[in-house]
């Protein structure tokens, strides 16, 4: 029987108080902003319905989604190889995958720019074929792809590693090729990790600023718009735009989490 006056474990209690500082800081920052913004509802509505703001949010989320879709196609195979094989230079490959996490964003931006600018190694031939990255939507996607790839690959790889090798072995002996095994056993059992990796990567992509403006100042992503508004029209307008973005992101993530609450629960238990 549970005691009604049970004291919480002192360790957990003190950890919660200390850890609460992080949550508290975020809540405080959000409340601080929200109180100011909500005090001027008409201006908030006007800003939220401004076509420039809506466009910037759409471009940001759309380009992020685009980057995630590309990652699903090219990042998933990489994650599987890293999860299931051991080769001589694996450490080096892992390091290369992780580099964008450690690089300052401006450095990532320069790397992407040098490669994809009109005279760049890849940019030049692609420009010949009619693809332009400078100040264009594909430039945003490429920058986002570069900075968010490690988050996706590492998360999906972890999911693949959690699928017992025995399950794959059994599938093989039952007549499935390695690819069939991957599609029918490994992928379904990693759905949650793939989804989490996608959300992480999407979030990282949406938050990118420095790497994007290096190659594509236009069209405005939300960060560029906020910075632009801040430098031209001051803190009041830019903070309202920021607040609109916060609301949009919050809504998007809550919807995603709710939609996928029951996705792939079994992979917790394999």
């Amino acid at each position: 029987m549970r005691s009604r006056h049970r004291l919480p474990d002192p360790c957990i209690l003190s950890f919660s108080l200390i850890g609460g500082l992080i949550v508290g800081l975020t809540v405080l920052a959000l409340l601080n902003m929200a109180v100011k913004e909500i005090s001027d509802i008409p201006f908030l509505i006007a800003t939220a319905s401004d076509s420039g703001v809506i466009n910037a949010i759409a471009v940001t989320m759309g380009a992020g989604l685009n980057a995630v879709i590309i990652l699903l196609i090219i990042g998933t195979p990489l994650a599987y190889v890293l999860a299931r094989t051991d080769f001589r230079w694996k450490g080096v490959v892992e390091g290369l995958v992780d580099i964008p996490i450690m690089l300052p964003h401006t450095v990532a931006g320069i790397l992407v720019y040098l490669l994809f600018m009109r005279r760049g190694l890849l940019g030049a031939p692609l420009y010949e074929m009619g693809f332009s990255f400078e100040d264009a939507y594909p430039g945003i996607v490429i920058a986002m792809l570069f900075v968010s790839a490690p988050y996706f690959v590492n998360s999906v790889r972890e999911g693949f590693e959690k699928v017992p090798v025995h399950l794959e072995n059994v599938a093989r002996t039952l007549g499935a090729t390695r690819f069939q095994t991957f599609m029918r056993v490994v992928l379904p059992l990693s759905v949650r990790h793939i989804f989490n990796g996608s959300i992480l990567a999407w979030g990282r992509a949406i938050g990118e600023f420095a790497a994007i403006i290096m190659i594509a100042y236009y069209p405005f992503v939300i960060s560029t718009l906020i910075y632009y508004t801040f430098t031209t029209r001051g803190i009041k307008t830019s903070s309202t735009v920021a607040f609109v973005m916060i609301l949009a992101c919050f809504a998007a993530f809550i919807i995603l989490r709710l939609l996928t609450r029951y996705t792939g629960r079994y992979d917790d238990r394999v």
Partner: protein, 365 residues
């Protein structure tokens, strides 16, 4: 059916070294050995999940190097059963058939047959995560047999089952082996399973094939001390043959002279092996017979084993006997009491001594 020719395989810290054996069609073949001896890897090598670094694996008379597992027609059942957690029982069983691109009606019919044959119709729509060990076991075997393989590999299939389920399953497996005309290869560290089911046995110790042969030979007349030790022969005494005539030899073990029936020659280093259950205890000073070896000793301890008791006796060398619990009471045996232990000369088995013999002796006795 399955042949290993000097197969060597290194996998992490573990290695199989020059393993050769032949498994014939219809064998119920057991590979036994201590935990971590590489038995599972050996099974996976048969299935094609690991490629040997050297040597050849032959299946049905053909070298199968380069043939991937999905084309070897060998079913594998792991110790943990490895059911697909994202599929229900029926879909698990149907998996192999779907991979063979069988049409839907065939798949349904076959799944139905197997559900019936294994008496698991009630589990059809259940998730594997909700099944007991015994149920999972049945589903795993049904799934393996769905594709009608002629070779079935079993990795410690009984280790997660309670004794009752296990007994039932051993009977089922005998039936499966008979009715499906299967060649079964089972690895285990449990010797009793091998004794009950095996037609032939291989003993793998530290990646090396230590012995191979019929059940009778491996369990009662092993070739080396290591194997004798592993198959559970409790009394192993090193010695040298000092005289012999007419297949009867005398072995000097230092502490005693033991009579045995053997064709080995005078001067050979041997190990005297006999099982604890073959030792008879009687009150001290009982009449001796030349067909028996009799040792006087002091009881040092008892280990209860169900209806039996294992008695440790110091006869100048350590000796172990198993007797009925009633016998202990009737004879009034207790630690410290003197007793006469005897064992028939004809039941003693002599093995040639391997070089590591002295160590083995001191390590295990």
């Amino acid at each position: 059916m399955i042949e290993f020719e000097r197969v060597s395989l290194r996998l992490g810290t573990f290695a199989l070294r020059e393993v050769s054996f032949t498994i014939r069609q219809g064998d119920f073949y057991f590979i036994i050995g201590p935990s971590g001896a590489g038995k599972t890897v050996l099974l996976e090598a048969i299935a094609g999940l690991h490629a040997p670094q050297s040597g050849h694996v032959l299946l049905r008379g053909e070298d199968v190097a380069g043939i991937p597992p999905e084309r070897r027609r060998i079913a594998l059942v792991y110790q943990d059963y490895s059911l697909f957690p994202h599929m229900n029982v029926a879909k698990n069983i149907a998996f192999g058939l779907k991979m063979q691109k069988a049409d839907r009606r065939t798949v349904e019919k076959r799944v139905e047959e197997l559900l019936q044959a294994f008496d698991i119709e009630g589990l059809r729509d259940r998730s594997p995560l909700t099944l007991s060990g015994g149920e999972q076991q049945r589903v795993a075997i049904a799934r393996a047999l769905a594709v009608s393989p002629d070779i079935l590999l079993l990795d410690e299939p009984f280790s997660a089952l309670d004794p009752l389920t296990k007994d039932k399953f051993i009977e089922d497996l005998r039936e499966v082996h008979r009715t499906h005309d299967l060649t079964i290869v089972q690895v285990t560290h449990a010797r009793d399973e091998a004794k009950r089911l095996a037609s032939r046995v291989a003993v793998i110790i530290e990646g090396v094939l230590a012995a191979e042969g019929g059940v009778e030979q491996i369990f009662n007349a092993p070739d080396t001390c290591e194997v004798a030790r592993f198959v559970g022969i409790e009394n192993i005494l090193p010695g040298t043959i000092i005289s012999g005539s007419d297949h009867v030899v005398k072995v000097d073990t230092g502490a005693a002279t033991i009579t045995a029936v053997s064709d080995l020659h005078t001067g050979e280093g041997v190990a005297v092996c006999f099982r604890a259950e073959d030792v008879t205890l009687s009150p001290p000073g009982s009449p001796r017979s030349s067909a028996r070896n009799t040792f006087e000793g002091t009881i040092t301890g008892f280990t209860p084993m169900g209806p039996l008791v294992r008695v440790s006796i110091d006869c100048g060398f350590p000796l172990v006997a198993t007797v009925l619990r009633d016998t202990v009471n009737e004879m009034g045996l207790a630690p410290g009491s003197l007793v006469s232990a005897s064992v028939k000369a004809s039941i003693i088995h002599l093995t040639s001594r391997s070089p590591v013999h002295r160590d083995m002796y001191t390590k295990f006795s």
